[in-house]
């Protein structure tokens, strides 16, 4: 270390500073600069460790940790993907994580609350003290109210099967209820299970480059898919056109050939109008509809349910459906074991027919598609213009452009379906992609990359020890209690919730409707939070467990965006007294039930990873031929087709829908599609009660709660380029760029109306809550929309807890028709939210 000027000054020579000049250059040596550069090399390190960046992000980017004297001195992308088009991945956030490993907000020791909940007043404690405390409280509560009254909440398991899995393992062993993330995060695009019977559908990112037309709907890949967005540019370089549908001029809009400004929450109407125009232009691929969808299956006009063979023959073939053969002018029954039509059958897609049931009654039937077409028929470009505020002729041009390019990809983001009626958006665009035959095609498809949800390996042996079933309760019910329409299969605790164990989440500001959530929290007898940063959630904990970062522990990760299985590997020993989640749970469970611990928690991360790899190792299994040793060296491609495209087997081999969605069983999700085909007609009662049997459009839900006349702004809480949710909010390097203050983007006209100037503190409020942030005025905003990116910690607001004081936690009963956690469950409508804005009253500013 070169002697610095101060020390030099102390060294007497002070006064003679200038005089001593000649002698001084010596003091800076060895200088790493100047002439030395001609020979200079990087400073040496102890070692370089290959690991994976794993916030609750879809990136899952391989990183190298450069360690010097036991300290990480640089984090940089590994750029070692065998499929080199994926290199280097990464983003500025991952590259600056070093500031969180060693930053001011890092939690170094276990803490026990001393002040009020939320006051953030804690005292340091020993691990033994906090572990005993957690164990005894859990035992007390478990025995008093039942173990299921303890709710374990953790985020997106896909980014850490082992450590996040430890939450599941412990829950399964002790009978605690585990929460959900994909649906709770609103990332579950309910249109997917409803239409395709799957949790989600996504082409691996590199396949975007094979597209001829990119329709980006409510996604902002330039800011939220930073490692992969270049694949869109690759396609563009090869001549593809890119159209972005977004109310706001987003970073992605700046790259698009055309940016179409839509009125928020109306994408379903746009989707239907596009289909309408395609049908009008005769560009629809109706054979594709016959082959793969329920289009030709007959529906009884009396009951609104599908006509089944059982209806005709009185047998018990509830799973054989009926089409009208134009050739034979007669109904033909078809099974669900295979897609397509029996040879020679020309299935009708239109018209009404009379059939006689086994009991002799006559009923009128019509192909499902006739009902779909009837609804689509209402959505002329003009009708859509009235709702979406997109000029009709723009819609017509878009329809023709999309339908005339093959393959054409639809890339949908949270903005489009983070709405109460987001399922209808998904159904409309699912129809668009299918009716143009883009499903199961490289470069085509209907993809959603929202949330790091994807479980791509067989986790059962680790998550369900000894085959124990997990009790999973969608966390929305934890937040707001059970709904009348809640699915009976939801294991809601008898006694309600009494305790919470929150890990891997800044739940108390990232959840919707947090003022309501905080009511719930007040009722809880015990709150434990495990985190490595002093977040707003930690501030509410009774007991805080200091967690290691992903640079200090071993884990197994994957993502929807690329098909590589990777390890998080410890580059340094745990900082401070922090511990891994596996270690935490091992100790907690041991204190509650030593027997269980000895049997199920006496395992290392290595063991856990091996369990998972082996479980998927059988021929065709996801981890076939993958070993831990390989993974230590770098990323290994899962055993998936290349390129990895959903529905290949269905489209190519006419296998019935749906493909399996891990970790659920096929049976569980197959129930979503009684016809085992892509379904645009839903016959379940609630769809009929709510008039949503076919894709349609509904006004935003919050318009009913907040009359648009009185609450003129739609609040879009998009995801910020500068953060992963709330992670990185407190990153000094990034704050130097964006300024480190919560800002609300509004249109200058809206601002002028309210006498709001650039940078003024403004109050944003509705019946659920209010906050004060700084105004940012730009034409990028759409009049009547305000954007306050989610994720700011409370401390970055002038007042209020955060954006989620304003958002809604209302549940759409359609999401409760079936229940498979994270696959068919209540999905949060973040953007379905109205507010009013005014200059902040003096005092707060």
């Amino acid at each position: 270390m070169p002697l610095d000027r101060r020390t030099f000054l102390k060294g007497s020579a002070a006064v003679a500073g200038a005089v001593a000049g000649t002698a001084l250059p010596v003091i800076d040596r060895p200088v790493r600069a100047g002439r030395d550069y001609d020979v200079a090399k990087s400073l040496p390190v102890d070692r370089v460790v290959r690991t994976t960046c794993s916030p609750n992000c879809t990136g899952s980017c391989g990183q190298l940790a450069f360690v010097r004297d036991g300290i990480i001195v640089k984090i940089q992308q590994a750029a070692d993907y065998p499929d080199t088009v994926y290199n280097p991945r990464g983003c500025m956030k991952g590259l600056s994580y070093i500031n969180h490993i060693y930053g001011e907000d890092r939690i170094m020791t276990p803490l026990i609350r001393t002040g009020e909940r939320g006051s953030g007043e804690f005292r340091e404690a020993t691990w033994d003290e906090v572990l005993d405390r957690v164990a005894s409280e859990f035992r007390r509560i478990g025995e008093a109210y039942g173990w299921d009254s303890i709710h374990v909440f953790g985020q997106v398991p896909g980014s850490g099967y082992i450590q996040k899995g430890a939450n599941y393992r412990a829950s399964a062993l002790l009978g605690m209820t585990h929460g959900t993330s994909f649906d709770f995060n609103g990332d579950l695009p309910m249109g997917m299970p409803i239409t395709f019977g799957v949790q989600n559908s996504d082409h691996e990112a590199k396949d975007w480059a094979n597209s001829r037309f990119l329709l980006v709907v409510g996604a902002n890949p330039v800011e939220t898919r930073i490692p992969d967005v270049h694949f869109l540019f690759d396609a563009v370089e090869r001549g593809a056109r890119m159209v972005v549908i977004d109310p706001v001029f987003s970073g992605t809009a700046s790259k698009a050939d055309a940016h179409i400004r839509i009125r928020p929450g109306t994408d379903a109407a746009l989707g239907l109008a596009l289909v309408h125009q395609i049908l009008v232009d005769g560009l629809a691929d109706l054979d594709f509809m016959r082959t793969y969808t329920d289009a030709s299956l007959l529906v009884r006009t009396d009951t609104g349910r599908r006509l089944r063979q059982a209806d005709l023959l009185g047998d018990d073939a509830e799973d054989r459906f009926v089409v009208w053969d134009e050739a034979a002018r007669a109904p033909i029954t078809i099974g669900t074991e295979k897609l397509g039509m029996p040879p020679g059958v020309v299935a009708a897609l239109d018209g009404t027919f009379e059939v006689t049931l086994h009991d002799g009654t006559q009923v009128t039937v019509t192909p499902g598609f006739a009902l779909v077409r009837a609804e689509v028929g209402r959505w002329t470009p003009e009708a859509a213009e009235a709702v979406t505020e997109i000029p009709a002729e723009t819609i017509v041009r878009l329809a023709r452009a999309y339908a005339s390019e093959k393959p054409a990809a639809i890339f949908m983001g949270g903005g489009a379906f983070h709405w109460y009626h987001g399922d209808l958006v998904g159904r409309a665009f699912g129809l668009l992609a299918t009716i143009t035959g883009n499903i199961g095609r490289s470069g085509g498809g209907f993809s959603v990359y929202v949330g790091q949800y994807k479980v791509r390996v067989i986790v059962a042996p680790w998550w369900n020890p000894g085959g124990r079933k997990l009790k999973v309760v969608p966390s929305i019910y934890f937040l707001r209690g059970r709904t009348e329409t809640m699915h009976p299969a939801v294991p809601y605790p008898e006694a309600g919730f009494k305790a919470l164990f929150c890990s891997f989440s800044n739940m108390f500001i990232q959840s919707p409707d947090i003022n309501r959530l905080h009511e719930t929290l007040r009722e809880l007898e015990f709150i434990v939070v495990a985190d490595n940063q002093m977040t707003d959630t930690v501030a509410w904990a009774d007991v805080v467990l200091p967690a290691t970062t992903w640079y200090e522990k071993l884990d197994l990760t994957a993502t929807p965006l690329h098909p590589f299985l990777q390890l998080q590997q410890a580059a340094i020993p745990p900082v401070g007294e922090s511990r891994s989640e596996l270690e935490m749970w091992r100790e907690i469970v041991r204190r509650i039930d030593p027997g269980l611990a000895a049997e199920y928690f006496d395992v290392t991360e290595d063991d856990a990873i091996r369990m998972i790899l082996e479980a998927g190792a059988d021929p065709g299994g996801p981890t076939e031929g993958i070993t831990l040793e390989q993974l230590r060296e770098g990323p290994v491609r899962l055993n998936v087709p290349d390129p990895d495209i959903p529905f290949l087997r269905q489209i190519r081999d006419l296998e019935p829908f749906p493909p399996r969605s891990l970790p659920a069983s096929l049976e569980a999700t197959a129930a979503f599609l009684p016809t085992r085909r892509i379904e645009f007609y839903k016959e379940e009662d609630r769809f009929r009660e709510l008039g949503e049997t076919v894709p349609t459009y509904r006004d935003a839900y919050d318009d009913r709660v907040h009359d648009p006349a009185e609450w003129p702004f739609v609040l879009l809480s998009s995801h910020s380029k500068w953060r992963i949710h709330s992670t990185y909010s407190n990153n000094p390097w990034l704050a130097e760029i964006h300024g480190g203050r919560a800002t609300v983007l509004i249109h200058p006209a809206d601002a002028a109306e309210r006498g709001i100037g650039e940078g003024d503190p403004i109050e944003m409020f509705n019946t659920r809550g209010s906050l004060v942030a700084l105004a940012q005025l730009s034409d990028a905003a759409r009049p009547g929309t305000a954007t306050l990116a989610e994720g700011w910690w409370t401390r970055y607001f002038r007042s209020g807890k955060g954006v989620n004081e304003l958002t809604s936690s209302v549940v759409n009963p359609i999401h409760e028709v079936h229940f498979v956690p994270n696959m068919w469950a209540p999905s949060t409508g973040w953007k379905d939210c109205r507010v009013q804005i005014r200059r902040a009253p003096e005092g707060v500013s």
């Binding site: 101060r6 000054l9 200038a18 000049g21 704050a735 760029i737 300024g739």
Partner: protein, 421 residues
């Protein structure tokens, strides 16, 4: 003679007579001490303690450097002009003028020091000079100019010193031969001094004028501008000092000289006006690359400063000096001179601030400020430079040092040119 023979009262009287001087010197020493301390503090903590940042990376110190280079102009002009054009009128104030020039350029040189991030590396300038750098040219010429003026001063007072038998005469005598050599040297000096002065100001101008990166500065007119503004401030300084010295009874000369100098000053100011106008016509011409900077000056945030410079700093003195009766009144001339000096100072201030305070590429978020901003962006498109207390103290210290040198000099050196013999 021995002390006892002096009446005690006389001694006391003498001391009391000198008290103002003692106080004055004490005061200067005090200010110097403060300045020195401030400088050490700055040296220990780095220039972060100044108001400068990556956006405005030159401030007070360079400003005073330029300003004092300018002030040094007066002396040699008066001296050499006196000789070359035989303006005998100047004679009584010649010594004062050259002394003032010497002290001014000395201070200019000193002001470079606190501006350096590594003052202790000053010697690098001589160890590794890079001759493509205007700054090197400038440092060379400043040193040369300093030596020259010092020698010039000595040349003028040498004879009297010799007569007093002071060692400062360095053994030179007052023989006719010696005096003749002195005369020859003086004439020779006059010939070098004038071009030297011109060069000094031109080069100082080029430090700024050659920077294509700074539209506001990048101009051929910079040198003439500097010369004229130097003439204005330099002459004004001489006038002021002369009148002060006369007030203190240390110098004798008639009002006609004052009027003459005043007239001269008026002319210089007029020329400066002309150049400024000329420059603005070309540069502020709509669409010209520099237009933005000039707009800031004419109507933008710098307008107050600029119009102060033009209207008050130069306009008022010009008017005063243009009106004959006022010109004949030393008090008015003194006032005009003082205001003119202020005017030139503001002129320099505008040059620096307007030249620097806006990033060269005006795209957000701008250039990195260079200092941790705590919470908040660390980039800026513009910067409003305000000198800190440290900078003021350092400047005050240097000024005090200059005043001290001047005071001591006039105490030990005979300032009054003997009436021709």
């Amino acid at each position: 003679m021995s002390a006892t023979t002096i009446p005690a009262g006389a001694i006391r009287a003498r001391l009391t007579a000198r008290r103002p001087l003692v106080l004055w010197i004490g005061f200067l020493v005090l200010v110097m001490a403060a300045g020195g301390a401030a400088f050490l503090y700055q040296y220990a903590n780095g220039l972060v303690v100044t108001g400068m940042r990556n956006t405005v990376m030159w401030g007070q110190y360079i400003l005073f450097f330029m300003f004092f280079v300018g002030l040094s102009a007066g002396g040699l002009i008066v001296a050499s002009a006196g000789r070359l054009f035989g303006v005998r009128l100047f004679k009584p104030i010649t010594r004062l003028a050259v002394l003032a020039a010497t002290v001014a350029v000395l201070l200019a040189a000193i002001f470079i020091l606190p501006d350096l991030g590594r003052p202790e590396r000053l010697l690098h300038i001589f160890l590794y000079p890079n001759f493509t750098s205007p700054m090197i040219w400038d440092i060379m010429i400043v040193i040369a100019y300093m030596a020259m003026s010092a020698f010039y001063v000595w040349l003028y007072v040498r004879a009297d010193l010799a007569r007093r038998g002071s060692w400062l005469a360095f053994g030179t005598g007052t023989s006719a031969r010696a005096l003749a050599r002195e005369e020859r040297l003086k004439s020779a000096m006059a010939w070098v001094a004038l071009p030297a002065a011109i060069l000094l100001h031109s080069i100082t101008a080029w430090i700024f004028g050659l920077q294509i990166s700074r539209g506001f500065w990048y101009s051929g007119i910079m040198a003439p501008m500097f010369i004229t503004s130097a003439l204005v401030s330099g002459l004004a300084l001489v006038i002021l000092l002369a009148l002060v010295m006369r007030r203190l009874g240390r110098l004798r000369f008639g009002d006609e000289l004052v009027a003459f100098l005043g007239g001269l000053l008026g002319i210089f100011i007029a020329v400066l006006f002309f150049l400024t106008a000329a420059e603005f016509l070309t540069a502020a011409y709509p669409g010209a690359p520099k237009a933005a900077a000039f707009e800031r000056l004419l109507v933008g945030i710098y307008a107050p400063l600029f119009w102060f410079e033009v209207a008050i700093g130069l306009g008022v003195p010009f008017v005063i000096l243009a009106i004959r009766p006022l010109r004949l009144n030393p008090v008015w001339v003194a006032a005009a001179a003082a205001i003119a000096i202020l005017g030139i100072f503001v002129h320099r201030l505008n040059l620096i601030l307007n030249g620097l305070s806006y990033a060269t590429i005006q795209y957000p978020p701008g250039v990195s400020v260079g200092v941790d901003q705590g919470l908040g962006s660390s980039f800026a498109l513009s910067h409003w430079y305000i000198p800190t207390a440290v900078e003021w103290l350092v400047v005050a210290g240097v000024l005090a040092f200059g005043a001290l040198v001047f005071t001591v000099s006039v105490l030990i050196l005979p300032m009054q040119e003997p009436a021709d013999h």
